[in-house]
Every structure is written in structure tokens, then in C-alpha cells.
């Protein structure tokens, strides 16, 4: 991790700040509400949706359980089709490979297709340090880049911005834009088209990610809406794709499942406007050079965890973000990572390590375990299960150091150890509760009970527990 996400505070702290931003909450409520409705409608159209989800899960499990085999197969097929395959252990190595390739092409700028992998490795920052300008071409990425902002959503990185804010950013940062620009989304899209047109037509090098990489054909797949992807994948002379090693599917046929699951889950469409597939290089059609960089960057650590591994099934659709009541209220920045929301809460601590920084150990706790995410996940990632598992990892990592929480948990465990002890605890609760109670209610309390009592009253604990009533019957 380099500069962008460095020093992010623990989730609760960042969330508190975000909750104070009423504009943010309005924007998020509107956007996630819209997309939830669209997704629900196109999913309801498919009587076989559950069968598709099961197939999606099984395809990705098959991939992960034999990942070494499929990676080697992919490498063979890409190479045979005229592509060059590189391997990168971590972000620094991947960035170095990209920089060397751009320099070899004698270029000082690149156009980019939206890609989570290159955000994760903070490629743009690394390129800038090497004197290479990176131009984001996806509309939302462009909004984030021009706004000197951070992405807050997997699919729509600028989801936290509404049309008026986007107009202001364009007005401020986009050369040639005048006050005549309105906040009509169609006009804003047209402004982005005009702004990027020349870049597309002249760029020598493009950098992309990939939604899928097919092992048995060596084919890469990019799923998009705007056509910026097609521009980047087709017009420049050199194409560099940075792809996480978990993005594979074993067979060409497997795409028939993924291409149905992804658009319905992400943008709520039967099919996204454009999907491009390419295999190596095709003479006379598209780039002359194709480089595939296979990225680990923590993925093999996640792969080694029996329960955590399922996070690698993720196809980055964002459905879990859009239904998450926590995400809807805090937005993505609070998660301190390019992967926000429920999937981020289980992916980030695994890619970085659960104790890597301030925010990572708090992410598995950034959920009520309500399960809405699991309900919509197109590849059946049991996010609540993984969250609870990672909570245990976070707790276990701190064993041996003093912790008030662990002390309290130990005390609770002791009291729950027998019904006799439980009765003692119950008497303490009843007595304590009556001491603190005013007019039948317990109001605001100091210390460790502040978090609970700051906004909630508690009814005075009754004198008689259930078991004393039962015994007196």
C-alpha cells in the first residue's frame, strides 16, 4: 500500500465522520436505491437464477482449487496467440513491469480502462512518479481523478457524487468546459466524450484489467458500458492488462454463466452495452503487442484460508455494496481500501493481512451480519461466515496483549459457565440496573456503556428472572 489509503483510521472512526455528511448520505441512498430496484427486476425475470448462482460458484471453486494448473494453461494459450505473460508477486513488481513496458514503447502517457487491480496496486501514482501520465477513461474514474478524490464503490467509483457536484468538478478541472454546461447526465457524458476523444485516437499504450481470463482458450474479457474499454483495447499499439490470478475461469463455456450473472448483478441490465474478448494479438485488428501481468499481491494468502478463500470467487459486481445497510450510510471511503462494502470487509484484511494497519482489523466488524450481501451474491460468497471467521482471526492475532474487551468476554464466559454462576450475574444485573434506573428506564451512561446508552434507553431489568418465575410456579 502506498500513499492513497495510508493512515486510514479504524472503520468506526471513519464511519462517524462519514455519517455527518448529509449530502453523501442523500447521494448514496438515491443511487443504491435505484440500482437495487433495477437488479431485483432483471433477476426476477430469470426463473433459473439460483441455478446460475450455483454454477457461478462451482466454476470459481473449480478455478481456485486447481489454480496452478489453469494459470499455466492460460499462459500457454496467451503465449501461443502472440501475447506476452508476466508474473508479479506484489504491487511494486507489477508497477515496475508496467513502467518498463510503457518506456519500451517510447510513450509518456497511457489511457486506462477502469480496473480494480490497477487501483489496488496504485498504478497511477507509480506511473506519475516515473513521469508517465495516466488518463482514466471510465466516466466515474474520470470524475474521481479530476476531483482529486478516492473511489468509493467498485462499479461506480464516484457514486458518492451527485450530478451537481460532477458538473462542478468538470467546470473546475476539464479544459474547455464553460458555464453553459448543465448538470443533465447526458450533457455531462457528452462533455466526457469530447474531453477524452483525442486521447483515445492518439494514445500509443493502454492499460486495462480484465473481468475474466479463460484458461482453455487464452481469452481475456472486459465487460463495460461506455465504449472507453473498446477504445483502449482496440486503438493503441500496445495493450497491457493487469489481472489478479483469481480472475480465471477454466473454459470458454464458463463465460455463458458469468456473462449472465455479472450484468444483472452489477448494473441491473440483461446485458451491459459492450463486452470485448480478445486472445493474444490479431494481425490487422487491434494492438500489435499484448502483455498480460498476472498479479498475486496477497491473493495466495487468501487462497490458503479454507473459509476466507471464497472471497476470491468475487466477480466485482458490487451487488453486496448496493444492498448493504452499513455501506449505504457510511459510503465507501470509510473502508479505507479500493474494495469497500461487505466484500471489501473480507477481501481487504486478507489481501493486506488482518493486522496490517489501523483499518484492516476493524473491517470484519463493520457489519451487523444481516446477510443481505449473501442473499444477492452471484457466486454465493457467504460473506457473514467469512466476516465471523476473520473476526476470530483479528481477535486471535491480539491474544497475549491486554484487552478490556477480551477481559469482559472472559468474565461473561465464566458467568455462563454454569446456571449457578448465571444466577449471580442476573442478580448483579438486576441490582445494578435498578441503581442506574430513573422512572423505569436507564438513560445515558458513562464509560464502556456510553456506546450503547448514548442514543438508546434501556428498560430497567426486572426483579424476577424467568427461571425464578418458573421455579415459583
Amino acid at each position: 500500500m502506498t500513499g492513497t489509503w495510508l493512515g486510514m483510521p479504524p472503520f468506526p472512526e471513519a464511519a462517524r465522520k462519514a455519517l455527518g455528511d448529509t449530502q453523501l448520505r442523500t447521494n448514496l441512498r438515491k443511487a443504491t436505491g435505484t440500482i437495487r430496484g433495477k437488479r431485483a427486476a432483471v433477476v426476477a425475470e430469470r426463473a433459473d437464477w439460483e441455478a446460475l448462482r450455483v454454477a457461478g460458484k462451482e466454476i470459481k471453486d473449480r478455478t481456485l482449487h486447481n489454480l496452478d494448473t489453469y494459470l499455466e494453461q492460460l499462459e500457454r494459450n496467451v503465449t501461443a496467440a502472440g501475447g506476452v505473460v508476466h508474473w508479479a508477486r506484489d504491487a511494486a513488481e507489477a508497477n515496475r513491469i508496467v513502467i518498463d513496458l510503457v518506456r519500451a514503447a517510447d510513450a509518456d502517457e497511457v489511457v486506462k480502462v477502469k480496473s480494480m487491480a490497477t487501483q489496488e496496486i496504485e498504478l497511477n501514482e507509480a506511473l506519475a512518479e516515473a513521469g508517465i501520465a495516466a488518463y482514466e477513461t471510465d466516466l466515474a474514474e474520470l470524475i474521481v481523478q479530476l476531483g482529486h478524490d478516492r473511489p468509493s464503490h467498485i462499479l461506480v467509483p464516484a457514486i458518492h457524487r451527485n450530478r451537481a457536484e460532477i458538473r462542478d468538478i468538470f467546470l473546475r478541472e476539464m479544459p474547455g468546459v464553460t458555464e453553459a454546461l448543465t448538470d443533465d447526465p447526458a450533457e455531462l457524458a457528452a462533455a466526457a466524450r469530447a474531453h477524452l476523444r483525442r486521447k483515445f485516437l492518439t494514445a500509443k499504450v493502454a492499460v486495462s484489467g480484465a473481468n475474466f481470463a479463460v484458461a482453455d482458450s487464452g481469452t481475456l474479457v472486459v465487460v463495460e458500458s461506455e465504449g472507453n474499454g473498446r477504445m483502449c483495447l482496440t486503438l493503441p499499439e500496445v495493450l497491457i492488462s493487469v489481472v489478479g490470478i483469481e480472475k480465471l475461469v477454466p473454459t470458454w463455456q464458463d463465460l455463458e454463466v458469468m456473462l449472465q450473472l455479472l450484468p444483472r448483478s452489477s448494473t441491473g441490465e440483461r446485458m451491459n452495452p459492450y463486452t470485448s474478448t480478445w486472445t493474444g494479438v490479431t494481425p490487422g485488428d487491434g494492438p500489435r503487442e499484448f502483455h498480460l501481468i498476472l498479479l498475486d499481491n496477497g491473493r495466495t494468502d487468501a487462497l490458503a484460508d479454507d473459509i476466507g478463500r471464497q472471497a476470491l470467487r468475487c466477480i466485482r459486481c458490487s451487488a453486496c455494496l448496493n444492498v448493504c445497510p452499513v455501506y449505504e450510510r457510511t459510503g465507501g471511503h470509510a473502508y479505507g481500501s479500493v474494495y469497500p462494502g461487505p466484500i471489501g470487509a473480507i477481501l481487504t484484511p486478507q489481501l493486506r493481512g488482518v493486522t496490517a494497519d489501523e483499518v484492516s482489523p476493524t473491517l470484519p466488524f463493520a457489519s451487523t451480519l444481516c446477510g443481505a450481501c449473501y442473499e444477492v451474491c452471484p457466486v454465493l460468497i457467504d460473506i457473514p461466515q467469512a466476516l465471523v471467521h476473520l473476526r476470530a482471526k483479528a481477535v486471535d492475532a491480539k491474544r497475549g496483549k491486554p484487552s478490556a474487551e477480551r477481559a469482559a468476554m472472559r468474565v461473561a464466559q465464566w458467568f455462563f459457565g454454569s446456571s449457578r454462576r448465571l444466577r449471580v450475574a442476573q442478580r448483579l444485573v438486576a441490582t445494578g440496573g435498578r441503581v442506574l434506573s430513573r422512572r423505569g428506564r436507564i438513560g445515558r451512561l458513562p464509560g464502556p456503556l456510553k456506546g450503547w446508552s448514548g442514543a438508546r434507553d434501556t428498560a430497567t431489568p426486572p426483579r424476577r428472572t424467568f427461571r425464578t418465575w418458573w421455579e415459583s410456579r
Binding site: P12, T368, V395, A425, P462
Partner: protein
Amino acid sequence: MRVALFITCFNDTLFPATGQAVVRVLERLGHEVVFPPDQTCCGQMHFNTGYQRECVPLVRSFVDTFADADVVVAPSASCVGMVRDFHGRVAEVSGDRGLAAAVAETAPRVHEFTEFLVDIAGVTDVGAYFPHRVTYHPTCHGLRLLKLGDRPQALLRAVEGIDLVDLPDATECCGFGGTFAVKNSDVSVAMGTDKVARVLATGAEVLTAADNSCLMHVGGLLSRSKSSVRVMHLAEILAGERG
């Protein structure tokens, strides 16, 4: 039918009226209720907060306590979810095969109250009377872990005199989330505040659910905002009688 009641530590200590209501409904329907006195806690708080090791003795004690019961009923969707879906995982973490086998024996016999009534006792009309305007919040663990579906509403609809009104966006979490309510209290309160607004929009006198934990959270917010809306476990509505 002879039914072993798992009251849950939370209801035992803070909401005995719920347990009394469960007993009243079950006995009214002709079932025999027994209360194994050694019971304490299912371990949900420890498990969900990351203290899986600390959870092991609690699971052991649970399976010992209920080993002989044919049918166990608990008035808490989240505790039943813990027992049925996660006691197996705790046993796995402990590495104790005997415990794993005991869990596999016991866990499937544990039922949430409304699930027991509709699926096992085969009733939806329990002969209750409750002449009030009520709205029902399906708690997340009841909805998504236990998949209670329409069972609670079917029971409520059969109550004489009830005016049952739909809660808008009912399936959205209330924000309680166990220790989430403390660890992430700001988000928890923000979610709960939105839930409160929806409850108030229904004009209901009573908010009900199959879990007192969520009700304690939403009820605590309602009380702080000086609302007159009461929260009440569904069992207490089903226990209501004329006169």
C-alpha cells in the same frame, strides 16, 4: 408434545415476560413444557465477536443440557440460528470430534418459536386476542438464516382483533447486530433511527419481532425519542387473551 424450553440468557435475565408468554401459548395448545435448569447461553455473542475459543465450553454445556430433549423451542431467531448454523463450526474449531457428533445430534432439534408452532405443532391460529395496531419487523437472522418466511405474519394475522400493518422496507436490518451496536454505535444508531422513522410512519401502537435483542435496540431509540410506540415480542401478542 413434550417441549424443552431454551429461554436464552438474554430473555431469562431481561425479558422474562417473553418466556412466560411462550409457556402460556404452548400450554394453551396442550403441550407439556419443561425447563432444563442447567441451561445458560448459546455462545452467540462470543462467536460473533471473534471469541470462538471462549465459545467452546458454552456449546459443550448447551449440548449436555439438551441432549435428552426431543424438541427444543427458543423465542429467539438469532440464538436458534447460532445453535443450528454455527455450533458445528465451534465444535470444528475445538477439534473435539465427540462434541461435533453431539452438536450434529442436538442442533437440528432446536426450533424457533414461530417455526415450532407452524411447522411442528401445525397451527397458525393459537387462540389469541390482541386489539391493537401492530407492525412486524422480520429480524435478519429469522429472515435469512432460519428463513422463517411468512410464518410469523401468518400467526399474527390469525390473532383476533389485531390490526396488522406492513412496515415499509421491512427486510432492512435495524442496525442492532449484537456487539456491533457498541463497536460501531454510530452506524448502528443511524440504521436504527431510519427503522424508527418507518415504524412511526405505520401509525402502529406496537412494534413486534421474533427477537428481543433487535427490539431492545429499536425500543431504546423509540423511548429516547419519547415515542409512545411499545415494543413487544411476538410471543407476548400470541399469549394475549380476551378479558
